[in-house]
């Protein structure tokens, strides 16, 4: 459902950058279903590839190298096409996200870091290309498992900026991109309030509800204007998803 909900955010003809795993599943699902002309890329500069024999496990896994039409490089993909503001939509993941859509993938400190930087208790993967996407893509979609520990009032470390302190805080930094348009979770979809930029509950999946989502969110989650249950996946959507995820490896997760 998470992959379908994310895929619905992608429009036909857009230039879209995916990571691996669910993010790529969502992207290729969109391509197979309603966005046949979506222009796909990865941060490594792989263009024109379609998944063969199961989705790739890595951005440059040979599975994606076997039918690409172009290989370039990181400055091209993340710089010329993403940080420049040219990419329409990027999908990123998060270990922890806060109410302004800021993402932490760097570490868990158990409490604030303090004025002196110290190693995290648990080191995560760092920002990777997600920071560049979060800064540069016209809009981003954040995919994250809906657990209370992952939805914080304020993340310990901002690896990839959402709306920072909220409001127009992004505009102080000269980013070329617009910020997160949605947080798609295992339970529903959160969207930013148009002025405060605080994320609010916009829809819940049929198997969840407002109370469950609030209970799994670490801030006092508001209900967005017009919040509603998300439409169930259609038969067409499910068929498209199955075509993309031949091996079923990812479907079971999301």
């Amino acid at each position: 459902m998470m992959a379908i909900a994310t895929g619905r955010e992608i429009r036909d003809g857009e230039l879209a950058i995916f990571g691996v795993g669910l993010s790529m599943l969502a992207g290729f699902f969109a391509q197979a279903h309603h966005a046949p002309n979506v222009r796909t890329m990865t941060e490594g500069g792989v263009y024109g590839a379609t998944p063969v024999g199961g989705l790739p496990w890595g951005i440059e896994c040979n599975r994606i190298s076997s039918n690409a039409t172009s290989f370039t490089n990181a400055i091209d993909a993340l710089g010329f096409l993403v940080a420049s503001g040219r990419c329409d939509v990027g999908i990123i993941g998060a270990a922890e996200v806060d109410k302004f859509g800021n993402v932490n993938t760097t570490g868990i400190w158990e409490g604030p870091i303090g004025p002196t930087f110290r190693p995290p208790k648990t080191r995560l993967t760092g920002a990777g290309g997600a920071n560049d996407i979060a800064c540069g893509a016209k809009r981003t979609i954040i995919m994250v498992s809906h657990e209370r520990k992952r939805f914080s009032e304020k993340v310990a470390y901002i690896s990839s900026p959402g709306y920072l302190e909220g409001g127009d805080a992004r505009s102080r930094h000269g980013f070329n991109g617009g910020g997160p348009a949605a947080i798609v979770t295992t339970l529903g979809i959160l969207r930013p309030h148009p002025e405060t930029r605080e994320f609010e509950l916009a829809s819940w999946f049929s198997f969840s509800n407002i109370e469950e989502i609030k209970a799994n969110t670490g801030w006092d989650l508001k209900l967005a204007a017009g919040a509603h249950e998300a439409p169930e996946p259609t038969a067409d959507e499910l068929a498209a998803l199955r075509r993309v995820d031949e091996t079923g490896a990812l479907r079971k997760k999301g």
């Binding site: 496990w57 076997s66 290989f71 080191r123 995560l124 920002a127 560049d132």
Partner: protein, 323 residues
């Protein structure tokens, strides 16, 4: 045929590395192509206190960090993609033995671009406004950090953007698919940042999965993104990126990726890994034996093998290339 630049792996490490140096790996994406054999030899020669410049973490950095050979590292991404967290690197960071300075995957190649151009700074529209800018593992008390990614005023509009410090590593050990004995190289698969790195580094050593005659380069000059004039030495080492992949040459050894990362999660596992896969594995036949000849053949049957087809006629046989 001129063989001037062809040297052995051991000789390359002896000649071009030293304790405390800034060492860069030229790699594809995290679990892509990285000349991890160079890191294995760094351990055999007991190099220490390395300052590692890795666009993304690889199994090489994971290994060097696990073994305690790295005290400082700069990365854009420090995981292993689907293989999870890099346990060796993680352990070194969490224990405080290794200071990991975080950047983003665009910040690192832009810093290499700035090094290659010898600019004093590089404009930054990413990695700013976040803790990548405000937190410095190399200067932990500088908070919010003023020196890691300072601001610079655009003279056209008066607005502020960030400024990255360019990178000029002492050595880049760059993994390439094909090299000729003069030092011209062809990369199959994305370059990631190997083009910029090859120009930013003070010295470049190529580690090539296979050698080809220079006639191959004359047929495909547009593919020769690293020309001989900037290369110090060429090391021929098949499966140089194993257990990682090399498009056109071999797939990743997923089983060993997992087992290796699991081993690096502990001191004991790391010691066992070094004993089993590094100590004494000093020549190519022993190396391929250690991978397992059946495994080698299996990994070679990649769905990307066709990418190598146009170049096969120029591949040099083993007896032609011994340095």
């Amino acid at each position: 045929m001129p063989h001037e630049k062809l040297i052995s792996l051991a000789e390359a490490v002896r000649r071009y590395t030293w304790d405390g140096m800034q060492y860069a790996s030229g790699a594809a994406l995290p679990v892509g192509s990285d000349a991890i054999v160079f890191g294995r030899e760094l351990l055999r020669q007991n190099r220490k206190d390395l300052h590692a410049i890795f666009h993304c973490n690889t199994q090489q950095l994971n290994l060097l960090a696990a073994a305690g050979a790295v005290t400082r590292a700069e990365c854009g991404f420090s995981g292993l993609e689907v293989f999870g967290f890099a346990n060796g690197l993680r352990r070194a960071v969490e224990s405080g033995r290794l200071a990991l300075e975080d950047y983003s995957n665009l910040a690192i190649p832009l810093r290499l671009l700035g090094g290659a151009l010898n600019w004093p700074f590089v404009p930054a529209t990413v990695a700013i406004g976040s803790d990548i800018q405000y937190r410095s593992a190399f200067a932990p008390d500088d908070y919010p950090a003023q020196k890691k990614i300072p601001m610079v005023t655009d003279p056209f509009t008066g607005k502020e953007i960030g400024a990255f410090l360019p990178l000029r590593p002492d050595l880049a050990a760059i993994h390439v698919t094909l090299a000729d004995p003069l030092g011209n190289a062809i990369i199959l698969g994305t370059e990631w940042s190997r083009f910029e790195l090859s120009r930013a580094a003070k010295k470049v050593v190529l580690i090539a999965d296979a050698l080809v005659d220079t006639a191959c380069m004359r047929q495909f000059p547009n593919l020769v993104r690293i020309p001989d004039i900037i290369v110090e030495a060429v090391v021929h080492w098949p499966f140089a990126a194993w257990p990682q992949s090399s498009p056109g040459m071999y797939d990743a050894d997923e089983e060993h990726m997992v087992a290796m990362n699991k081993a690096l999660a502990t001191e004991e596992g790391t010691a066992a890994y070094i004993r089993d896969y590094i100590d004494g594995v000093t020549d190519i036949p022993a190396y391929l034996d250690r991978i397992g000849r059946d495994k080698v053949e299996h990994l070679r049957r990649s769905s990307t093998s066709f990418l190598l087809d146009p170049f096969r006629q120029w591949l040099l046989a083993a007896e032609e290339v011994a340095p």
